[in-house]
Symmetry: C2
Subunit: 368 residues, 2 copies
């Protein structure tokens, strides 16, 4: 594996992704949205949710497992809630739609909760949560995902990495955005560690027999990821509860597939024989600050929270206390200025898929 990365301007990367999805017949608006979410992940330094996904989405489309002309619909609603059918499209399409509905509900009712079924991978959860912030609202986004995680005392993959994103408006400080998978490590990161010949920190993985391990290769041998915390002794049952809550809010409420029934989001894994629900599920919430106290007061108070945490005594004065979103904002600014580093393998794999599907390779990707 080469580690010499190619540098691509983020605007060109976005245009290339728009080209690809437009070519296969997705509407321009939808293609722009998909590209925007994927490039936002690259900008924020989360390449596992960026360009690398394009080949996966194309693979699902090729096998008729993904509707690229999906039109999400509200199938049930109340003044503060909504249920959306994602029409088996990409999660970006239904997710963006559903978050907008949640914001509009919150505008009228104070808060809004919208869940989605019949959807697919939606990229980074933070993309949706942060949309609420410009409306002076808290934004929350969750999704369930392919099973890789074993519940406490089990050795079977039953739950996904089920992320939570939480965005909170501020006055002068940067927006607070916490966006994290509810498991200690992502599958992609384990694969990277294996390629580097390193070991995984303790408390993150177990073998197929349920023995805790630091060996990254176990995930290719029916091993599983442990919940956040690790095993029972290390309070991993709390991480399990958290992952379970995201699954329940995303899928049980909406009627999507839950747990180990979540449809695979890559085409090399076969479609399952049986689905109790519809597609993959998401959960979105918007909470209007003004419904509680004047938004300006709350945002000033949030600034105080951030400054208070920032001024906590650091262990190492050279490593300041972490404020969620600070590192991602810094990375995003850097990548906007200096371009996005992409592994050549990612481009090569994508070009192979494009060639196979007779899709022209966008000019912007002709750098290799």
């Amino acid at each position: 594996m080469s580690s010499d990365k190619l540098i691509i301007d983020y605007k060109n990367l976005k245009l290339a992704i728009i080209d690809i999805f437009s070519t296969i017949g997705m509407s321009r608006d939808d293609a722009e949205l998909v590209a925007d979410v994927l490039v936002e992940a690259e900008l924020r330094g989360i390449p596992s949710h960026g360009l690398v996904r394009v080949k996966d989405y194309l693979g699902l489309w090729q096998k008729n497992r993904l509707n690229i002309n999906a039109i999400p619909k509200i199938v049930n609603e109340s003044i503060s809630t909504g249920l959306v059918d994602g029409d088996n499209g990409l999660g970006m399409i239904s997710g963006n739609f559903a978050m907008n509905v949640a914001i509009s509900k919150a505008q009228n009712a104070g808060c809004g909760i919208v869940v989605v079924n019949n959807s697919n991978h939606f990229g980074i959860a933070g993309y949706y949560a942060i949309k609420a912030v410009e409306h002076d609202m808290i934004g929350i986004a969750m999704t369930n995902a392919n099973p890789t995680v074993a519940p406490t005392f089990s050795k079977q993959a039953m739950l996904g990495t089920n992320p939570i994103a939480f965005a909170m408006p501020t006055k002068n400080e940067s927006v607070f955005l916490a966006d994290f998978a509810t498991v200690p490590i992502a599958r992609g990161k384990v694969e990277l560690i294996e390629k580097q010949g390193k070991t995984v920190p303790s408390g993150m993985l177990q073998t197929a027999d349920g023995i805790p391990t630091t060996d990254p290769s176990v995930l290719r041998q029916k091993g599983t990821i442990l919940p956040l915390g690790g095993d029972y002794e290390h309070a991993g049952y709390k991480g399990y509860c958290l992952t379970a809550i995201v699954d329940i809010l995303s899928a049980i409420l909406s009627g999507a597939n839950f747990g180990n029934f979540v449809p695979p989001q890559v085409s090399y894994l076969p479609d399952k024989d049986y689905y109790p629900g519809k597609g993959l599920g998401h959960f979105f919430a918007a909470i209007k600050l003004d419904a509680f106290r004047p938004a300006n007061e709350i945002k000033e108070y949030m600034d105080l929270w951030i400054r208070s945490m920032r001024s906590a005594t650091p262990v190492d004065p050279k490593q300041p206390v972490l404020i969620p979103n600070d590192p991602e904002i810094e990375k995003s600014n850097f990548h906007k200025k200096n371009g996005i580093p992409v592994l050549p393998e990612v481009i090569i794999e994508l070009k192979n898929v494009l060639n196979e599907l007779n899709i022209p390779i966008p000019d912007k990707l002709s750098i290799i």
Copy 2:
């Protein structure tokens, strides 16, 4: 420390607690509520949130730091939201009130979110969350708490153990209730481990200098609890995000004190010199199932979720896969039948406080 526990019938324990709070002038209804929450903790096997708290509440009252005649008030509301002032009473009083408001909002609007400021310790979060279930609603309860936890890269206690409770209705299975502090270990548990001469599992504590340790005595020497996950390498920043989210929802939205400004909930710790907000804060939400899909369908689907997790392959066939609330229901049934085990020290400490305050010792506690 003696470990021979006394056995008290749970109904007698409740009557004793009602007696004590009635004697100092709390209304009978409020005293019953406080007793109910504390005894529910004992029944569920969480004695750190049970009888042991009575002396703490009395101590705060004695120092005029707690209003035992508090009348919680809605100070702002919309169709789906509310802000409650807890009138500096116990969190049971404002918490019960606020959760009822959230349920009533959800009944009309689909969902309800109510936050509370100017409150105090509310006992176990699960008590409030589960109230929504009989109305065919999801219930969520959170609170912030005294600072004991260091944010990632810090060695200063800036956040509390900030629990989340999430209750989900079921059809034939037991109610799903996840109720967990968002940190790997409670302070009380660390103290117990120290008394037993044992060590704490790795990834839970750090010394005053920020060095990870398994030595439980560090909490008495300005050491801190690490977020769920542990240090940065072990993904503790995810646990930190989670604890932060609970703090923001409970305190920033409501105008309660946040982070290390949360007022001490024990009288031996002095009141702080400066408070940016009002008291301690809580967050409650109710989500009506029928607003999304027929409640009955959702509850049947939740049964399927539970049975699916229960049937996951266990590591050890003798130790079935954990379903949140299963162990607590079993303990509760056992304690209802066989009585609640109480440490003699807890009774002795309480009697000393009662004597000091000239409060008659309830008959039901005259067992030592």
